[in-house]
Symmetry: C2
Subunit: 208 residues, 2 copies
DNA sequence: TGTGTTTCGATAAAATAATATCGATAACTA
DNA sequence: TAGTTATCGATATTATTTTATCGAAACACA
């Protein structure tokens, strides 16, 4: 167990977890770094290094004990103590995220959405509440929202970002295709769907 | 103009473009690497290196000419010749992507969706067609689909992936939270929304 | 025309990440 | 029990990415 974990390593950890869960279902109890490497298309040394940073030793000839590895991964990834998140923008993407059921197993509790349009207020398909934007200050005060997800059109993203920051939320996942300005102590992650696709298209062209 | 461009650089390029478009609207015609660096929170040397890889020289004391820089970025990012993409899965996320209007400006033409459930077939809100999955072979034969977007539940993702590969599509953007197996010549990019959020939550916890 | 300032590109250095090598250890087998 | 093999962790090497340094080019202004 080392102290610092690189962001590249962190990005790979969920894939280890997913793979381990899958093969545990198949009844496997021990797994070698080589097997993981082959399955996920990684170097086996890289796998060992990644795992060493969050879990205890594997055993020569045997490999790693799946259950404890899964436990350590879940613990590190925080898939136990839930973090609260809210969504801004109750359009297609916003409601898709609101009703997406894959967050819980990653330790995330997506609670509600906000939209500036009062007509959108009410409940989502899965029954989660949608509030108007001006209800945010009150709600933010009464509960501890850790993460904001921006799913509004680009032209309103900065505006919404400012409101989020004003209400003391310190982490933002931004789906709008614009660069957001915020104080340095606010963590912003950009998740631009169009850019991801565009990069894929560039890679594809480069390969030909 | 160098030959190889790192993927990290590629990820930054869309942000340069977005920023340049914004300040061009404000009437600016020349910009220095320093100004860009400050605006986007990057190192100015890094900005110069990134730009050098896709555009021609800036001029000392003046900086870069915005218009030609924008042109080079758009050209490199392929935002001119459109690439065709289709979506698999016409649930919330799938239809959100189908009706999302930010792809065109990134050179992507999201044409249609496929769903195994015939009840979903028809038209999306924005009028794009939704077909049943068994219509894919015919359609794939008659047109050149470059990119597939997987937006189906995790348990069906591999199955759909196999079908996509069988139909000759060589690039996949995968939104399902599973690792997909595919031949090596197929490019797969994983875009797992829950993991992105989880990473944000981990960073947040680490900061405290 | 000459001097100062800004900004560039190129090269060098430092930091980070990925990969290869190798001795050690634990299990299996004869 | 001794030898063989699979697998690990640690260390070393290589590759990649970021950051720093510095001379030169272009403009401003005396």
């Amino acid at each position: 167990m080392s102290d610092y974990i690189s962001s590249n390593t962190m990005k790979r950890l969920p894939f280890y977890l997913e793979y381990l869960l899958k093969i545990r279902d198949e009844g496997i109890v021990n797994v070698s770094s080589k097997a993981i490497a082959v399955a996920l298309n990684l170097g086996e040394v890289q796998v060992r290094k990644d795992l060493a940073s969050i879990s205890k030793n594997g055993r020569p000839k045997i490999g790693y004990e799946i259950n404890s590895l899964i436990g350590d991964l879940q613990k590190f990834l925080g898939y136990k103590d839930l973090t609260d998140a809210v969504i801004f923008g109750a359009g297609k993407l916003g409601t898709a995220l609101l009703d997406y059921n894959g967050f819980e197993e990653c330790g995330l509790n997506v609670l509600m959405a906000f939209d500036s349009n009062p007509k959108k207020a009410g409940k989502s398909d899965s029954g989660k509440p949608i509030y108007t934007l001006d209800e945010l200050p009150m709600i933010a005060k009464s509960m501890n929202i850790s993460i904001a997800i921006i799913a509004v059109p680009a032209q309103h993203a900065q505006e919404v970002c400012d409101i989020i920051v004003e209400n003391g939320i310190k982490a933002i996942l931004n789906f709008a295709p614009v660069h957001l300005d915020a104080p340095k102590d606010v963590i912003i992650k950009n998740e631009n769907l169009a850019y991801s696709l565009a990069l894929l298209s560039i890679e594809l062209k480069a390969k030909k």
